[in-house]
């Protein structure tokens, strides 16, 4: 039994090593930054190319920064299954998010539910999705980000309604900043620890 546990730990450690580069932190931070940018950019559709660029940059960074430093690995069936579950959750979450945006844009909720209810739903959606990502990816930092981002939604509303800040989106600048800075520190540390020169020796 102990043998099984240790092999599981070994697999978990190998999997975790593929995201010690901080790129996930930076990517998620930049995604949240997109919400903050809506305060400065009036065209809502800018988020589509913005998110597309983030995803392309993430894939390129994995290919040109991470893989040359720690190598390439294909994980077993169990890990693939849990990653497929995660993908399904993310697709459902994105569809749910889009539906919420559509409903809010068309004002379909007016008279049915009050705005704070929508806010709570979005906040809970973020909390659940980030926590599930953390669980399926064995990525503990994501639990903190789950709390940080989900709290940002009601915080933004409270601060804006009470006139403490001119636009609630500024709150997301703080949460995204924390994530991007954490990721950048981890990325620098990763690049120092695993140099390409050492990998080629």
């Amino acid at each position: 039994m102990t043998g099984n546990v240790n092999l599981k730990e070994l697999e978990k450690r190998a999997f975790k090593s593929t995201f010690q580069d901080g790129l996930w932190d930076i990517q998620l931070g930049l995604i949240i930054l997109g919400i903050a940018l809506t305060a400065f950019i009036t065209n809502d559709y800018f988020l589509i190319p913005y998110y597309a660029v983030i995803i392309v940059l993430f894939i390129a960074a994995k290919k040109f920064i991470t893989v040359p430093r720690i190598g390439l690995v294909k994980f077993g069936k169990e890990r693939k299954k849990s990653m497929n579950k995660l993908r399904l959750i993310l697709v459902i979450s994105v569809l749910f998010g889009l539906a919420m945006v559509l409903i809010t844009k068309r004002d379909m909720l007016s008279g049915i539910i009050e705005f704070p209810v929508g806010l709570i739903i979005v906040s809970l959606n973020v909390l659940i999705v980030f926590s599930l990502m953390a669980y399926f990816m064995d990525f503990e930092r994501l639990y903190y980000y789950a709390v940080l981002v989900s709290v940002s939604f009601p915080m933004a509303e409270i601060l804006e309604v009470n006139g403490l800040i001119s636009n609630g989106s500024y709150v997301f600048l703080v949460s995204s900043g924390i994530m991007v800075i954490t990721g950048t520190v981890l990325l620098i540390r990763f690049m120092r620890e695993y140099s390409v020169e050492k990998a080629n020796q």
Binding site: G3, L7, K8, L10, E11, R13, A14, S17, I70, G71, L72, V73, K74, F75, G76, K77, Y194, A199, Q201
Partner: protein, 102 residues
Amino acid sequence: MNGPDKPFSDIDKLIHEPARLKIMAHLYVVESADFLFLMRQTGLTHGNLSAHMSKLEAAGYIEVEKDFVGKKPHTMLHLTNQGRAAFKEYSKKMKQLFDDLI
């Protein structure tokens, strides 16, 4: 060999060597990995890993797949069915051995 030494002599000595045990264990928990990934995970040097890999490959425990990542040639390593079975058997025998000793 019979008698009290039999359980010890039954242990697969090729796997029992610490560096090779590390390599086998790491390859057992994944589908396949490249040379660099194994080097990082096991903490072995290039030369050391290469030497142990050759022994494991000669025994038929690991297989080397050569493919291309973009235009660059890339070598992935994975345990063969024989290697997987040998590792399972090794861990079973070691567990049994320690159970009997205590």
